[in-house]
């Protein structure tokens, strides 16, 4: 308990970074994924080809590798980012791709009749997606999205590779400093609390969306 109190300030700082990376990534990548899903629906051959490659790369390589590439590899193409910017760019690129695939699945699950009703009522493509398709897709995809959200919490620990200190790294430092593995237990508890809170929030959201089942 003594140890926990000593570690608390650093654990709090580390957790702040963890939550920062988590929320910025989520806030940017989830809406962005809907925009790209909509663009995908316009069936432009060239755009869809680029998107296909982008998604394949992001889902087919480890996020850790992507982090390294964005920070260490891009300077060779004259794009140099500072550490936190590289983190956000890599995370957003990665999670947007996953969300696009999830959205696509959700939209395909929507009855074709919905699209036809929109057409017949004179809805533009944008209106169709904004008002009818996306709201329904949100509900259908919520379980998959929840999974990604919880993965994201844990993926934040990968930022150590760019020397950024989030809560797991704080734990590692403490383990080395105090020569005991107990700090890992504290870090584990912090992760459990964070994932529990978000899992509950998402469950609530799921419940609220069943009003029209």
């Amino acid at each position: 308990m003594d140890l926990f109190i000593k570690l608390l300030p650093n654990l709090v700082n580390g957790t702040k970074i963890t939550l920062f990376v988590f929320s910025v990534t989520l806030i940017i990548s989830y809406p962005l994924s809907f925009l790209l899903t909509f663009l995908q629906s316009l069936k432009n051959k060239y755009l869809n080809f680029i998107l296909k490659i982008y998604i394949a790369v992001e889902r087919g390589t480890p996020l850790l590798l992507q982090l390294m590439f964005v920070y260490f590899g891009l300077p060779y193409f004259n794009i140099t980012l500072d550490r936190m910017s590289a983190v956000i760019v890599a995370f957003v690129l990665n999670y947007t791709a996953y969300f696009i695939e999830i959205n696509r699945g959700g939209i395909e699950a929507i009855d074709k009749g919905q699209f036809e009703a929109c057409k017949v009522l004179g809805y533009s493509k944008i209106d169709t997606y904004k008002l009818i398709v996306i709201p329904q897709a949100l509900k259908i995809t919520l379980p998959s999205v929840s999974n990604e959200v919880l993965s994201l919490v844990k993926d934040t620990s990968l930022v150590y590779i760019l020397g950024v200190t989030e809560v797991l790294k704080v734990g590692r430092t403490a383990v080395n400093y105090y020569a005991t593995a107990i700090p890992f237990i504290y870090v584990g508890i912090i992760y459990l609390v964070i994932t529990y809170v978000f899992a509950r929030l998402l469950k609530q959201l799921e419940k609220r969306l069943t009003y029209y089942d």
Binding site: G122, P135, K139
Partner: protein
């Protein structure tokens, strides 16, 4: 009486399969026309073409002189789908007014129109309900209201009796007759009794051509 729907030399083929071959149809104002024929003969395809849900290979379609290629065409026509296709995440009222709101019509006007139609179809009490809370017959009435929100000149029905009980079918007959005072009606159906009871004219489709 004025011509509302005019279809000339309509051809539609799916790859090498010709579904509609040189179809000519006219529906006049206040007519209730039933389009009948065996399954798969192309009556649904014809209905879909008229509603711009399918592209046509050649021919002309117009409603009150406005060609199908014109951007104002869609407003002239309304369609009540076989399975209604109501928007499940919106209330009945929202289902009705949203198509107006996106055309920048103000909310008050839209709600007024919605109330009018809901009252006419006897379903005003379900205004705030969600589609999943409605019976089949009620859903159909909402679907009819929604299709009429933009004052179409031609209202289409795709198999309106397929999911209804006898009482609801009677309601629909009455409703259609009332609506025909203000517009032309085109119904695709395989229910002969219904067609005879409600139509002013029946068109039978054989092969890829119509026969009056």
């Amino acid at each position: 009486m004025t011509d509302i729907l005019v279809v000339n030399n309509l051809k539609k083929a799916y790859q090498s399969n010709v579904v509609l071959n040189d179809i000519n149809v006219v529906v006049k104002d206040q007519e209730i026309v039933s389009l009948m024929g065996t399954s798969g003969i192309g009556k649904s395809t014809l209905l879909r073409c008229i509603n711009k849900l399918e592209t046509i290979d050649s021919g002309e379609i117009s409603i009150k002189g406005i060609a199908i290629t014109d951007k104002n065409y869609q407003e002239q026509i309304g369609l009540v789908f076989q399975n209604y296709n109501l928007f499940p995440h919106l209330s009945v009222l929202e289902n009705l007014i949203q198509p107006l709101l996106i055309k920048k019509i103000d909310k008050e006007t839209a709600i007024k129109k919605a109330d009018e139609l809901l009252a006419k179809l006897n379903i005003l009490d379900k205004k705030l309900a969600y589609p999943n809370q409605l019976s089949g017959g009620q859903k159909q009435r909402v679907a009819i209201c929604r299709a009429c929100m933009l004052n179409p000149k031609l209202l289409c029905f795709d198999e309106p009796t397929s999911a209804l009980d006898a009482a609801s079918i009677e309601d629909v007959k009455k409703t259609i007759k009332e609506l025909s005072n203000d517009m032309a009606i085109l119904i695709v159906t395989h229910d002969e009794n219904f067609a005879r009871a409600v139509s002013t004219r029946i068109i039978k489709m054989q092969d890829a051509n119509t026969l009056n």
